[in-house]
């Protein structure tokens, strides 16, 4: 059988499983996002390692909803406050809880905001610091973890979460066995799909409640800049 098809079938099965097991929570999370936004809040996103992809899938996306804001390690990189080695190779940056202070000092955060924290392992001191600080202020936390990794790594992020999603892949996340070599992953794509399911449910929330929804257009479509700026300008630096 074509190994590309073997991979695709595995991916599709993982997507179905994610839907079957996570749908109820996806709907609750979408409602939490909608209520946060209705209350003048911004949904703050922070992802660790490949968790960044889930963040990117919600933040300022064509066909997505505003306002989300990404708290981005890249903002430290371009200020030479850390190195690519620490971010992409050793992942040492995530072991430094004080990075929280550096990052958050660059953003305009608000007590009405909600936090989404994405970490396969749920054990990195930096992501735990985000959770602890949000909890102290009484803000809602949505966690996204890969439970099989989380259990193996002694994660504690879920101790702080009001609700959480499971990325639903095995530990390690390897999709296909090629003659003894394990290769390919499905976890990120499955979480991207869960992010889009949240978007769909969030759209439904706004339509049912207000008859319209703050949907962003692709920047590569005529007129998108004007439309998108009208949605995000009211939040100023809170979303930039």
């Amino acid at each position: 059988m074509d190994i590309k098809k073997v991979y695709l079938d595995k991916l599709k099965a993982d997507i179905d499983r994610a839907y079957d097991t996570q749908l109820e929570k996806i709907q609750v999370i979408a409602r939490m996002f909608g209520e946060c936004m209705d209350n003048g809040g911004v949904v703050q996103l922070f992802g660790v390692r490949h968790g960044i992809e889930f963040v990117n899938e919600l933040n300022y996306r064509a066909g997505g909803i505003a306002p989300f804001h990404k708290m981005n390690i890249g903002d430290l990189l371009i200020r030479h406050m850390c190195t690519k080695e620490e971010v992409y190779k050793t992942f040492e940056i995530y072991n430094r809880p004080e990075v929280y202070d550096q990052l958050t000092s660059m953003y305009v955060l608000d007590d009405r905001d909600l936090y989404v924290l994405v970490s396969e392992r749920g054990n990195e001191p930096l992501v735990l610091r985000f959770a602890q600080e949000a909890k102290k202020r009484g803000q809602k936390i949505v966690a996204v973890v890969n439970k099989s990794y989380y259990d193996n790594c002694g994660g504690t992020l879920l101790d702080y979460a009001d609700i959480w999603l499971d990325m639903q892949t095995e530990c390690p996340d390897v999709a296909v066995d090629v003659d003894g070599i394990k290769v390919g992953q499905t976890g990120t794509t499955v979480t991207n799909i869960m992010a889009q399911m949240i978007t769909g449910e969030l759209y439904r929330y706004f339509i049912e409640k207000h008859g319209q929804a703050p949907v962003l257009l692709s920047a590569n479509v005529k007129g998108a800049d004007v439309h998108n700026n009208a949605l995000t300008d009211p939040y100023g630096r809170r979303v930039r």
């Binding site: 839907y19 960044i52 909803i65 371009i78 690519k84 992953q185 769909g200 692709s218």
Partner: protein, 243 residues
Amino acid sequence: MTVDAKVFLDKIQSLLDHLYESQKDVIEETAQLMARCIENDGVVHVFGSGHSVGLAIDISLREGSLVPVHIIENADAVILGEFTLEEFTDKVNKFERRQGVAQYFYNLYDIRENDIFFVISNSGINGVGIDFAMLAKENGHKVIVITSMEHTLAEASRHPSGKKLYMLGDVVIDNCGPHGDALLPTNGIEKVCSVSSICNNAVAQMAAVRTVEILKEHGYNPPVLTGDEAHDRELKEHYKGRI
């Protein structure tokens, strides 16, 4: 039109089937190019603007991933290059729209003769991606393009040549996403739930697993991270400075 998680699930599953059926041959060609590149000690460079770079993150840096994959990031102009933060974030003279950006990145990295390039752009109409593909071809590299054909055929090129990215690929993969990237129609003018990252990831993962299979068929030991610390360290060391 109903929009919810179930509608998205059904549509994305159908789209993934269509993606495989319509693109399996060009994904096969891509895997053949990747395998040849790796056998010749080459590196696969990935250039994508905005969300397009997510594909490179998905197929690298973890267990089960090919090692010789290099992500070209705009921010490297500041992190590794000599651009200042102010120049990079200038809202008027936008960095990615400046003349010579592609050449700047080409010079910034250790790019070698047998390397190949993925250039990814959903719209395929913006200058820097088109410049990058042209430059890579001028320097004799194979170029694999991933784009949305529906989107790119609906919009005018923003490149002075009038060309679009798909015109420059040795292999062109259609990610089968719709114009504007959002999949689900609504009762209003807007559409919701984008698919390009999902489809791009699926394409790249299918190409990667097939690449490993081809390498095995050729008797070449595939450079894949296994989770074994010593093995993985040795592999990364081999490509040091290039990935």
